[in-house]
């Protein structure tokens, strides 16, 4: 790097330019295709669930009993009578008792195509629970011919809509849990590493004690302790706390190690020699240098939390109806018969899988990005 600071002229001309750390990091991130795709997938998922009222064609409790366990409706473009059109349509579904198996069988009523309209008014809802609206991304104009991308559950509710609503819990549990986990982990880790001594010894032993327990049984024990009579919102908060309570230990250790190494570095000594307070050193020197690691750890902790919530809800000790989450939706597919006869009931698992994978890929990408000079 020839005397760039003493000779600033070429930089102004734009012949070459020195990239800032942030630009270097951004480049590194964009080079990782998988991470970029994952980030986009996650953005779409989060937006779709936050605005579930808009993206879901039907309400989460909006069931039609005659459509109990009805399979996904096929979205078609060509009709025998009306011909083909670019606008997709569905046929109405009618249930008939099979004379051979005595099972309900669903057949399409091909007499009339029901076109799917986008940005269509329908059942009212509240955006993020605040602003009332009734616009839906897509639906048919006839409520007897419902478009159901992922089939119906036992009470004839549209699974796709329910997954979107359930995602509100599943996806936010990850973020909220990780928020608590990051705050707890980084504060305790920094204090432990910076001050050392008895505080360090006590917290480290405490962390070791916590980590000795296998995760799932401890989660189960803790969430079983949440009173069953609590309102659903409280239960939700309780689950978040339970999940974060066990997750912070890993981050706390990582942050402690980083603090131990950073506090001996010359730039921290220089700040000390200038009379900087502990708070200032932590704020200006330690945290910014640890931030990238914290972000990576947090990103990788989100899927763990999501899986934890799903596991608890699946086992019936997580969130309870009328709230729903992907784990809870999956618990409907608990029985082998259900899976055998109505395989679409497993769809929530697909969403969990995609989310967890995407977070892991994103975390990997961020990890590469953290060290842009390598």
């Amino acid at each position: 790097m020839a005397d760039a600071a003493t000779n600033p002229a070429p930089a102004a001309k734009g012949d070459y330019r020195l990239l800032s750390v942030r630009q270097l990091m951004w480049r590194k991130f964009l080079n990782n295709r998988l991470a970029v795709i994952s980030a986009l997938v996650l953005i779409v998922l989060y937006l779709a669930t936050i605005f579930a009222g808009f993206t879901a064609p039907y309400g989460p409790q909006d069931g039609v009993s005659r459509l109990s366990f009805a399979p996904p409706t096929r979205v078609r473009f060509c009709d025998e009578n009306a011909g083909c059109s670019l606008r997709p349509f569905v046929y109405a579904t009618t249930a008939e008792r099979s004379k051979k198996t005595f099972l309900l069988e669903f057949v399409e009523d091909r007499s009339e195509p029901h076109y799917i309209y986008f940005f269509e008014r329908g059942a009212p809802y509240k955006i993020v629970g605040l602003i009332p609206w009734d616009m839906h991304l897509f639906k048919t104009r006839n409520d007897d011919a419902r478009v159901s991308l992922l089939g119906h559950d036992q009470r004839g509710r549209d699974l796709f809509s329910r997954i979107l609503y359930g995602g509100q819990v599943s996806l936010s549990v990850g973020l909220m849990g990780v928020l608590i986990l990051v705050i707890l982990g980084s504060v305790i880790g920094t204090l432990s590493g910076y001050y050392g001594g008895w505080f360090d010894a006590v917290t480290q032993r405490f962390i070791e004690t916590l980590r000795v327990f296998p995760e799932i049984p401890l989660w189960m024990a803790l969430s079983a302790a949440i009173p069953p009579l609590w309102p659903p919102e409280w239960v939700y908060a309780g689950i978040v706390v339970v999940l974060a309570f066990l997750g912070w230990t890993g981050l706390a250790r990582e942050v402690r190690g980083l603090t131990l190494s950073l506090k001996k570095r010359d730039f921290v000594l220089a700040a000390q020699a200038s009379g900087a307070s502990t708070g200032r050193i932590v704020r200006k020197h330690l945290i910014p240098n640890m931030m990238s690691h914290i972000i990576v750890t947090a990103t990788l902790a989100i899927p763990v939390t999501i899986l934890g919530e799903s596991a608890l809800s699946f086992l019936g000790i997580g969130v309870r109806p009328p709230m729903m989450s992907w784990g809870l939706l999956l618990s409907d597919a608990f029985k082998v018969q259900v899976i055998a006869l109505y395989p679409w009931m497993l769809a929530p698992a697909g969403f969990i899988l995609i989310t967890v994978l995407a977070f892991n890929f994103l975390g990997d990408g961020l990890r590469d990005m953290v060290d842009p000079f390598s």
């Binding site: 020839a2 730039f267 240098n289």
Partner: protein
């Protein structure tokens, strides 16, 4: 202690990891070091790795709290003992004592812009308004030879020499009176070393700075110092003016250090003796002269009694810690000593 003494260190000791009840436990990094520092002079501390030279510097900057001894500093508001100063007093006196570090890569926070780094001491002490700080930073950066638009750069965008200049600018923002330079040029290229040393020299004259210059490089020390303190295992071996030390070293260890210097290009090929052995462990209890194990002139008394730092008979302003100093002729930098006869 004369009127222009800025710092008077007496009996400074530092023991790392000492257990309170075990005598001689831990690691004695600094052993009863005493010296006076005059306003405007440059005192170099030289020694091998592990001799405690950096530790002394960090004690004076109070990055380490000494176990023993006093360090009386003539602050603007009157003398204070750095060794026993409380937090508030320390904060105040830190405005007058600053530090320059060895490795400019490690001493600049890579997440901060140059401007923020240089302005940090001003912010810590709440000096000036934001505009004044920016102005001060710009003028200082220019003074140390960087362009003012370096303020928006990050350390990794600068070269090693430029980074060390940033380090100098940071140390000088709050106009300290004492600058502790901890091997400031040993991580730099030789050509850049000279530039930085010249800059330090110029700044000293301009601002009336006093330097404590820690180094292992006698060539650099020869260039910049007024006086030189030779350290071995945390103990002062010799304290002399630069010219005296190079003209006639009083201590066998100083002689050994001079012998270890590479010959200057075009200089005379010197006959030299290379010290054998390694620097010993600076562990707790010890007896006799710390250098006795490697000293070619050591006798029984050296192994049993620790020599005191006392004026040398041949040159009383030089102080030396050696039982035999008065009887030895160690030659000079260019002149090898005569073959040692057996001592009486």
């Amino acid at each position: 202690m004369t009127d222009d003494t800025i710092l008077s260190v007496a009996d400074l000791s530092l023991r790392f990891g000492a257990k309170p009840k075990v005598k001689g436990s831990g690691l004695l990094a600094v052993n009863k070091v005493s010296f006076d520092l005059k306003q405007g002079e440059t005192l170099s501390i030289v020694g091998e790795s592990g001799s405690g030279k950096t530790t002394i510097g960090r004690c004076i900057a109070r990055l380490y709290a000494p176990s023993q001894g006093s360090m009386v500093f003539q602050a603007k508001d009157g003398p204070v003992d750095l060794a026993t100063l409380d937090k508030a007093g320390l904060r105040k006196v830190r405005r007058e004592i600053q530090m320059l570090f060895q490795d400019p890569n490690a001493s600049l926070n890579s997440r901060m812009r140059i401007g923020e780094i240089v302005a940090e001491p001003l912010e810590i002490h709440g000096i000036g308004t934001k505009a004044e700080r920016i102005e001060r930073v710009r003028s200082l950066l220019e003074r140390v030879g960087l362009s003012a638009d370096a303020v928006n750069r990050y350390p990794h965008q600068l070269s090693g020499g430029q980074r060390q200049r940033v380090g100098i600018a940071r140390a000088l923002t709050i106009s300290p009176r004492l600058l502790i330079c901890d091997e400031p040029v040993s991580a730099l290229d030789v050509s850049v070393q000279a530039q930085v040393l010249n800059l330090l020299g110029d700044l000293q004259k301009e601002m009336g700075l006093t330097y404590i210059f820690v180094s292992h490089d006698l060539g650099v020390v020869d260039y910049i110092s007024d006086r030189i303190m030779v350290l071995y295992l945390g103990t002062v071996m010799e304290l002399a003016t630069r010219d005296d030390l190079f003209a006639a070293p009083a201590h066998p260890y100083t002689r050994a250090l001079l012998d270890a210097m590479p010959a200057r290009v075009g200089g005379k090929h010197r006959k030299r003796k290379v010290l054998s052995g390694e620097i010993g462990g600076p562990s707790g209890l010890r007896k006799g002269c710390v250098f006795a194990g490697r000293c070619p002139f050591a006798t029984d008394i050296c192994r049993t009694h620790e020599p005191e730092l006392r004026p040398w008979r041949r040159r009383p302003e030089t102080r030396v810690a050696c039982h035999h100093a008065d009887d030895l002729d160690l030659g000079s930098y260019d002149q090898p000593p005569p073959e040692p006869e057996s001592l009486p």
